[in-house]
Amino acid sequence: MANKYRRRLARIVLGVFGTLFCTALAFPFYWQFVTALRNPQDLFKMPPELFPSRLSLTYLRLVFAEHNFGAYLLNSVIVSSISMLLSLIAGMPAAYAISRVHFKGRSFWSKFILSANMFPIIAVATPLFITFRSLGLINTYAGLVIPSMVLTLPVTIWTLRAFLIKLPIELEHAALVDGCNRFSAFVRIILPLIAPGVFATAIIAFIGAWNELMFSLIFITKKALRTVPMAIAMMPGEYSLPWGEISAASIVSTLPVIIVVLICQKQIIAGLTAGAVKG
């Protein structure tokens, strides 16, 4: 009996704590959201209104009216999706190799991969620009995709590695005995077991590319190839900081990502895990 009460109490405490924790973390976004919906006359009210007394769609309308925002969203979706896919396609085999294949120099190469996240990117802007120009990658989607995906490759590889080394090698051996080759053993036995890791790295790769600005500013000069962060960065002028409009744009660009991820996660994880049952 006492146990039951204790458990209920624990659940309440958890609920209260969880609510407070989430409220605190969600607050900046709430604030941004409210900013986007403010009446222009209230935007910089001193002190600010915590709960706006009146709302307006002025800024949201401006985002869609004045700017080619739909096209930029499309660019971002394309670039981020390809980056994510390529990051997984190049990352999964590499992760498998450094955790399961006993090749010479394995330890060196697994560290080598990390070097991508060790150097300060701004320091190499000019050398990179020269390389990309000579390869004709300026003003192409590829020029956006390649740097973003490369920068998320190490996380992808090392996360999946952490999953792979935890799996008992016997699982794979059993599959090999059953007549699978290594590839189908990976797809049928291992992939479903590391599905949560694949999903997490996919989100990280997608959002990493979604927010990339540094390279886009160097490699993209054509208006039509602008991504969402670039478009938002273009909004302030020398003498103007249209904060209401920028807030609205940031909301417009953030919500789709979150909705897609929330809708997709069940399907993706279910899909990946279902493979195991069938196989």
Partner: protein
């Protein structure tokens, strides 16, 4: 064995090729620049000068100030990100009701572009129209506005908070994926054996995500030592240079002074600092295995 070698190389080849092309080649270029007198405003005198840029760097008191600022920023950021991220991951894993909401809360900061986050927080910390001051004043904690970003010490706290908010989702997502691989049966049998929540956390949860914690620590440390954008847009290294970091100073040499030699030397040193710390982490990894 030879077949195993071939397979290994084949599988890592695409990743290694891309990383070499995008990162390692430009990096070696940067290291070469760092050994030269290479000032864009004085290109006639460009020449090899050996380690002179490094001597200059190590005899500059700015280097040690920036190093200290960078290390404080990175250490506090990483610890807080880990705490907040772990809490969020545990909540996501445990919550049955409102799970979607918790996930949304975790994803939001990650999905907002960094430039916006910096301006968002600058305005939230603002003394006159910022919401933080408004809340503190309405609740009677403060009687007048406190200029958070203008006070040495507090400014650093501000950029750390901003950074933690922006980056904790990375930690939460990865740790959650680690939590999801812990079989529920482990918890159930532990409960049958009478293990309390803390014990279960210490003996099942933590060991279960240990590898992920190390991955997260490694990547967050590598990223936070290279802090640049928040300093650039929120403080400019001020007030009184208390938030200036190594990479921000490197940026000043590279793009304000157009001194590519010296700027490259600073960048190279940042690389070696990160390399050293990473190798320390990695030795932890290996002990683990």
């Amino acid at each position: 064995m030879r077949k195993e070698n071939l397979l290994g190389y084949l599988l890592i080849a695409p990743a290694v090729a891309l990383i070499t092309f995008i990162c390692v080649i430009p990096l070696s270029q940067t290291i070469l620049y760092s050994l030269r007198y290479y000032n864009l405003t004085d290109q006639a005198n460009e020449r090899f000068i050996g380690l002179e840029n490094y001597f200059k760097l190590f005899s500059d008191s700015k280097f040690y100030d920036n190093l200290a600022n960078t290390m404080i920023f990175a250490a506090v950021s990483v610890v807080l990100q880990l705490l907040v991220g772990l809490t969020a991951a545990l909540l996501m894993n445990a919550a049955s009701r409102g799970a979607v909401l918790v996930r949304a809360v975790v994803l939001v900061p990650y999905a907002i572009p960094g430039v916006i986050v910096a301006q968002m927080f600058s305005f939230m910390f603002h003394g006159d129209f910022g919401v933080l001051n408004a809340l503190l004043r309405q609740s009677g904690i403060l009687s007048s506005a406190f200029p958070f970003l203008a006070k040495p010490g507090w400014a650093m706290a501000c950029i750390i908070i901003t950074n933690v908010w922006k980056q904790f989702p990375f930690v939460a997502l990865l740790l959650l994926s680690g939590l999801q691989t812990i079989p529920a049966e482990l918890y159930e049998s532990a409960e049958v054996d009478g293990a309390g929540a803390l014990k279960r956390f210490a003996y099942i949860t933590l060991p279960g995500i240990r590898q992920m914690v190390l991955v997260v620590l490694l990547f967050r440390t590598m990223a936070d030592i290279r802090i640049f954008d928040l300093v650039y847009s929120m403080t400019g290294g001020g007030p009184a240079n208390t938030t200036s970091t190594l990479l921000y100073q490197a940026y000043i040499f590279l793009f304000k002074d157009m001194n590519f030699g010296l700027g490259s030397a600073w960048s190279t040193i940042i690389f070696f600092i990160i390399l050293t710390i990473s190798l320390i982490y990695l030795s932890l990894f290996q002990k683990e295995e």
